[in-house]
Amino acid sequence: MDSRAHVVLDDADIGRAIRRIAHEIVERARGSESLILLGIPTRGVALAHRIADAVAAIEGTEVPVGSLDITLYRDDLRMRPARALEPTTIPAGGVDDKVVVLVDDVLFSGRTIRAALDALNDVGRPSAVQLAVLVDRGHRQLPIRPDYVGKNLPTSLTEQVRVEVAEVDGADQVTILGEPQ
């Protein structure tokens, strides 16, 4: 591992964060049956499934989980070679009149979420959209704020935040790379 990288959340921290987010979602939805979790690929999808599992443990109810690929809605497509698409899977019944919680690993500029809102808009018309992120590292470039945050992580722009989840990366941890300014 990079000697400058340091772990800011370990697997236990991540587990606690997910459970807390699940509690908050349940509280706010007050047992609403119209909840849907949509993960933003790749790691957002894994996190969405875990939040759904935590909700099920708390409430005993199944929350539908899907994935929402935002590649085709990105505003920075021309800055990199064409990317492969990730799957978009909308749970049966669609998103119309549902409360959709978008789930992503890191909230940074807000552009990903802007793209996700556009993508969601083309899929249907939810009654409300909320945002859950594991890490909020600040530096927003758009008027977007999360509804549920696992951890607020003040960073400098020269640092990188790396989220790893067991389903994708083999282990759970969040690390910061690079020098603080």
């Binding site: 690929d69 085709l72 809605y73 497509l77 990199r80 698409l85 990730e86 899929v123």
Partner: protein, 312 residues
């Protein structure tokens, strides 16, 4: 990838990427909002020197679903100085700022020339050139095969496909032989010897003059259009003899394994290479091929134009 000129331009991984991308884009086609903002501000020119409403519309729909601006440029008819007109047209398109030119041309190699002669800077997509290639048709055929016979993912490893008809003049056959090979399928070309290209023995496929012995062992059969006029150039004695020896009718279709599908790139000559009842049978997937054509062309346009411009 800067251009798509030949099916041979695609590696196995690239071809699978196109098919995977097409599969995701096909889902968009099924929802009520069919439009994506991806290629907003990009200009796609459909430059058609030959009439082909089907292919032109397919590309047009694909480009529009991705929000590209589409210019249809039907260059057919300027016959006097045909050579000049390709270059002059290209210069015009360049001046208009075309990001991609989708070209259909009657002369083999015209897209290649357009891409390499230095006339334009954008991407070139071959939508059929002479008797050379038609790579997006091969991609949509591969996509259709994959959906029916490989559960919609991966490559076509081990699949057996027969292509029957006027191989000599067919750009569809050339592109399919190359792409199927890349994706691991085994192709058998079937035609009278007069309609086989010279040197076909060295192509990466099998060759047969007898459709009946091949059909029981294939997963799909692709029938190619045969123009009746070919008989005047002695490629075969009569349309009757052709359809008797090489046409697909119900009796012949019954030789296919139960799971096998019947394909045709269109337009069909009913009664010539394919009988009407075969064309309308549930095993025939022609309508689906048309729909898949849009998804595959969206994928190609996205992969060519959806990223940054490649350095030239």
């Amino acid at each position: 990838m800067k251009h798509l000129l030949s099916a041979a331009d695609l590696s196995r991984d690239e071809a699978v990427l196109v098919l995977d991308t097409a599969a995701e884009l096909a889902a968009v086609t099924d929802r009520s909002v069919k439009k994506l903002p991806t290629l907003r501000g990009r200009t796609v020119v459909n430059l058609f020197f030959e009439d082909s409403t089907r292919t032109r519309i397919s590309f047009e729909v694909a480009a529009k679903r991705l929000s590209a601006d589409v210019i249809n440029f039907a260059a057919k008819g300027s016959s006097v100085s045909k050579g000049e007109s390709l270059k002059d047209t290209a210069l015009t398109l360049e001046a208009m700022g075309a990001d991609a030119v989708v070209i259909r041309h009657g002369s083999s190699g015209a897209p290649h020339r357009l891409a390499t002669a230095g006339w334009i800077g954008g991407s070139v997509v071959n939508a059929g050139d002479g008797t050379h290639e038609h790579p997006t048709q091969a991609l949509l055929d591969a996509f259709t095969l994959r959906r029916h016979l490989r559960e919609g993912s991966g490559d076509l490893d081990g699949l057996r496909v027969a292509i029957v008809g006027d191989i000599l003049h067919s750009r569809v056959a050339r592109s399919n032989v190359l792409l199927m090979r890349t994706l691991g399928a085994e192709v058998t070309l079937i035609a009278p010897p007069t309609l086989m290209p010279y040197g076909v023995e060295s192509w990466p496929c099998s060759v047969s003059y007898d459709i009946d012995t091949v059909l029981p062992d294939v997963d799909a059969v692709m029938m190619l259009r045969v123009q009746a006029e070919r008989m005047h150039a002695a490629y075969f004695p009569s349309t009757l003899e052709y359809s008797r020896l090489y046409g697909l009718d119900v009796a012949r279709m019954s030789r296919l394994p139960d799971h096998a599908i019947v394909m045709h790139p269109g337009p069909m000559n009913r009664g010539m290479e394919i009988s009407a009842d075969v064309a309308d049978s549930p095993r025939a997937v022609m309508v689906e091929q048309v729909a898949n054509g849009v998804s595959v062309r969206m994928a190609v346009l996205y992969l060519l134009l959806g990223g940054m411009k490649e350095d030239i």
